[in-house]
């Protein structure tokens, strides 16, 4: 793992978009009064003609992006994930997915990252709805290298996609972009262990790695899988591990319903024999607290995951 210090994914994305936008004037960014929280002020300064501000109007953000894409632009529509995937979801379904426009939907401050701002600002159901929409790739990068690799792909790709990112600076899980993001639908095995498998994505990947360290001290060897993309899903790898392990744990910053656990369950139930343990947010508004406090409360931090594993296999 690289020693380079933790970085905010939003800032890394901005660098990637500035770089791509300088080479390709069709790369445009649309914001809904969200350029600050989206870390996109440098993009607006460097490429003022390639940013479109639509105001606090998330439905329009998506549909205007679709119109721009239809005319040859490569828009990145940026808005808090909570609004982008709920307020605008019909626009995503119709104008992006159904009309097949090359719009990249960047959901910022996703999951629980707005923490004490409350449920209005949490996106804990976004994976459920976006993964059910046809013709939409779904990503959640877990560190700066995966973000770089993913965006090098996205700025060239002609397919619609939803990308959810959080707010906090992330430690590195990888050493370079090439190993962090191989291609859509390709999950990465970050650690090999023979006893159990942990499957994570986005900000729960570092927690799964921490859990694997803690478990190792207890003599439990864990395999850690970073899904990288929820859609397309690496069903080949999941099918393989669902036959290799008797217990698989999914860890997600999302409702326990219809997210990563459900996606993995669909594979395990049809092609494997493992018992699946779904760790995520309960079917209720999230408790108030910092993101770390909340992760700990719901057992989604390294210690909580390890404890759950120990308890369930003992």
């Amino acid at each position: 793992m690289s020693e380079e210090k933790a970085r905010k994914v939003g800032e890394v994305i901005c660098e990637q978009l500035v770089d791509a936008g300088k080479k390709d004037s069709d790369i445009v960014v649309l914001t809904s009064d969200s350029r600050g929280s989206g870390s996109l002020v440098p993009f607006a300064k460097e490429l003022p003609k390639q940013i479109v501000e639509v105001g606090i109007a998330e439905q329009d953000l998506v549909t205007i992006s679709a119109g721009l894409a239809h005319s040859g632009k490569r828009p990145f529509a940026v808005s808090p994930a909570a609004f982008l995937t709920m307020r605008s979801i019909e626009q995503v379904k119709v104008d992006v997915s159904y009309s097949n426009t090359n719009v990249k939907l960047l959901g910022i401050s996703g999951g629980n990252s707005y923490s004490v701002l409350g449920s209005t600002h949490h996106s804990l159901q976004d994976l459920a709805i976006t993964r059910a929409i046809p013709n939409l790739e779904v990503y959640m990068p877990c560190d700066q290298y995966q973000t770089i690799g993913l965006f090098k792909y996205l700025v060239k790709s002609d397919k619609p996609a939803y990308i959810r990112i959080g707010k906090k600076a992330l430690n590195n899980c990888y050493d370079n972009p090439e190993e962090a993001f191989v291609k859509p639908g390709k999950a990465n095995v970050l650690r090999n262990g023979k006893d159990i498998a942990l499957v994570a994505m986005g900000e729960t990947v570092p927690e799964a790695l921490k859990a694997a360290d803690l478990l190792e001290k207890q003599g439990i060897k864990a395999t850690v899988v970073d899904l990288v993309s929820l859609k397309p899903l690496d069903t080949e790898l999941l099918s393989k591990i669902s036959n290799e392990f008797s217990d698989i744990y999914t860890i997600e910053e999302h409702s326990i319903y219809n997210g990563i656990g459900s996606a993995v369950a669909e594979v395990v139930a049809t092609s494997g024999s493992a018992k699946l343990h779904i760790l995520g947010f309960p079917d209720a508004p999230a408790i108030a607290g910092t993101q770390d406090e909340v992760f700990s409360y719901y057992g989604l931090d390294g210690a909580g995951i390890a404890k759950n594993v120990e308890k369930s296999i003992s």
Partner: protein
Amino acid sequence: MDVEQLEKKAIEMRKATWEMIYRAKTGHTGSDLSCTDILVALYYKVLNQTPETFKNEDRDRYIQSKGHAVEILLNILADRGYFPKEDLLTYSQFKSPYIGHPNNHIKGIEMNTGSLGHGLALSVGIAKAAKMDDKDYHTYVLMGDGEQAEGSVWEAAMAAGSFKLDNLTAIIDHNGLQITGKTRDVMNSEPLKAKYEAFGWNVVEIDGNDMSQLVDAFDLKPIQNKPTLILADTVKGCGVSFAENKAEWHRKVPTEEQYKEALDVFDKELEERK
């Protein structure tokens, strides 16, 4: 085409649409007949677009936000040669691409529509792209007046005014009726002229079933920095006397008797214009 030829074309297209709906036993009859003249003016006079140039970057764009009036659009596209007329015999049948709302797998259809309140924002995006790229094409979008109750319409109206999109013309098929009854009673969106003007638009009011007024309105030079709204007063069901101004004809299929009665009228009108 001159106005007389356009008027005759409108009768032909009403007749073809009437036949298609009767044959398929489905269609938004009243809505199709309401906006027929607007679409004829656009496709035979205004749009710089042909089947051959449909993929050209410089073509004018037409977005039908009131997607349910698809039968008239399909008949016009077939008549203009975007696809063979016989294709429409499959309308609403198993596996047909010719379904009850615009489908962008069909040549001539820019974007999928049908869920109301999307077309104006799509058109804002398309017109904005033209501004960003210094292109001269013009974007036209047709909305219904019942559709004006959708909040997303007003997000887009605000954006079009703010972006100063003088390369965008919206037309409202202002027939005053929607499926439940009078638009004023269902949800009063009036006064539309004052509202759009307040959002930074230039508004032109016309009789939207009068071909010469339509042609004149589309001929007007846009006012610099302002999007244009043609508020076209129309009659739902226009051209079929017993269906005119009746909300129940929003999506009604004619009986055999009604079918023949209207067909006779269309044929007589076409005979007179020979």
